[in-house]
Symmetry: C2
Subunit: 349 residues, 2 copies
Amino acid sequence: MTMTRALIGAALTASLFITPAAAQQAAPLEVPAKSVPVPSDVSPQMKKIIGMPLRTNWDIHPKDGAAWKPVAEAGAETLKKLVPGMMERLHVKVERTTIDGVRAFIVTPERMRPENRDRVLVHVHGGCYVLNPGEAGLPEAIFMSGFGGYKVISVDYRMPPEAVYPAAHDDAMTVWKAVTKTTDPKKTAIFGTSAGGALTLAMVMRAKQEGLPLPAAIAPGTPMSDTTKVGDSFVTNAMLDNVLVSPDGFCDDGAKVYAAGHDLKDPMLSPVYGDFSNFPPTILTTGTRDLLLSNTVRVHRRLREAGVEAYLQGGEGQSHAQYIRDDTAPETKAVFEEIAGFFAKHLAR
Amino acid sequence: MTMTRALIGAALTASLFITPAAAQQAAPLEVPAKSVPVPSDVSPQMKKIIGMPLRTNWDIHPKDGAAWKPVAEAGAETLKKLVPGMMERLHVKVERTTIDGVRAFIVTPERMRPENRDRVLVHVHGGCYVLNPGEAGLPEAIFMSGFGGYKVISVDYRMPPEAVYPAAHDDAMTVWKAVTKTTDPKKTAIFGTSAGGALTLAMVMRAKQEGLPLPAAIAPGTPMSDTTKVGDSFVTNAMLDNVLVSPDGFCDDGAKVYAAGHDLKDPMLSPVYGDFSNFPPTILTTGTRDLLLSNTVRVHRRLREAGVEAYLQGGEGQSHAQYIRDDTAPETKAVFEEIAGFFAKHLAR
């Protein structure tokens, strides 16, 4: 009996600490099916979001921009209806505008805090580069403006079928150039979630390449930082993340339609492969069930390797971008207050 | 066709953004079985660690300290053999000592950096409160000393069957008191992984309760912060984390044997439920496959809610505590250099 236990102990330890010599063949791990309850240590609002079934029709594959357009429009129609309530609860106003030919919205808190009076945040929305046109891209901008007390310029960039890569990037850069002409870049930040998180990273990389000013800080939320399907949580959180569901679902397909044949490994579309040197301080947000958990963590590490001040936050049980759903969830407020505080620390007044 | 797409779009969006009124019953999510390959974007050394099969005999359940002892001894025998190589590669020396009756090791870099000469780190090893006695608890202390250039005092605390709760906590506090008598607390930190991460948190809570000095910073690695089985990744990463494997496995059982009937929800054994006010700056480490990913993220959030400077880092594809396995893995070096830099920033010279 004692001998058996000793052998078990040795086996336990052998699998705990291994030397290179003891390395084994790396066969795939076969993980059995499991029944996953809603986590208990989250707010009632977040329980509702996390407890939703897998997104309906996550495996649609519209083949081009024309096929995506009605999908995007129908989605936007539903989303737009939520915007007035968000504006009211968070006490912000929204104004539609055009900046050097690019469609945009200006989101302003009803009462601007004195320290934020000269600060401007640029927002690039998410939606796999094909979804959330117009007001549908506004929720995150409204949350940031409302919880953080910042003026936000949200770029309503071109998407398929109107235009493909690099149109969204170009539009974002046009707005960025315009903003930095009228606002001290030290008083600016860029933020966005998912495709907007990738755009945030790509904008800094392009600004570096083009010799443009950089923002004082950025907040890429669960960035779509790798469209080449690399990232462990693409597998480990597949069919668990109820938003993106699978790397073979609608979202990566949408990005491919936008890329329109452009190399997906180009850092403009997969910024994890880009150059992070001289990046401004960066705050990243993800969730423990996020299909892009790995691709958030990987960006965090690349930033740290480049010596950049980079801060990571993660939401218990949250799938992809679930912190930009319900402004009444305390988890949502916490995420945006964290980002707002990070910006307050790094932006000049 | 257009109509169908429009409906799909509406459905997509409805599951993206929900209002409380649209909330659904939160049935468990049924996640199918999956085959999980070793992640590609990690080092060869880390691939070997991540690619190991599930720990042998993860579901053993020794019923008491006497039953655990041979398991712990056999494991320690295997681990001890790795220690000399670690010491040699990382250029540290180890000295066995006793501090006010408590067994401990003093780990010192061969060449002490001038700025670290007066700094002391206290280390509490992991192992579910039943494993890693003696030299088997040293790897993390050696990594910290070697990569960070710090003097480390590693507490070889009592475990079952020698003693049960609060013996390990008491031993750690005895060493803490002794250290703060001879070293300015502003020049100290406490760190540890797993049960050692929980002990690190519990030590700060006890120091606050007892009016003792606090360290200048702490580094709880993937802390066993909740022994009541709460934490979403206990389910989502079960049978995927190849180290802990399951919350119903050996580790939580070991903690229960140490608790010996003491309330597991006591913050001393489940520090996530404790009071985080006035905590020193804290750096937390986890991995994307970590069974304690949620319980690391939850501690991070509690710290931030208490206004504490708290920093989170996560390893791509890593299961529980896999950053303290192989000192030749670049991921290991990165984790310890990150912690060392955090300490360098917060500890007085």
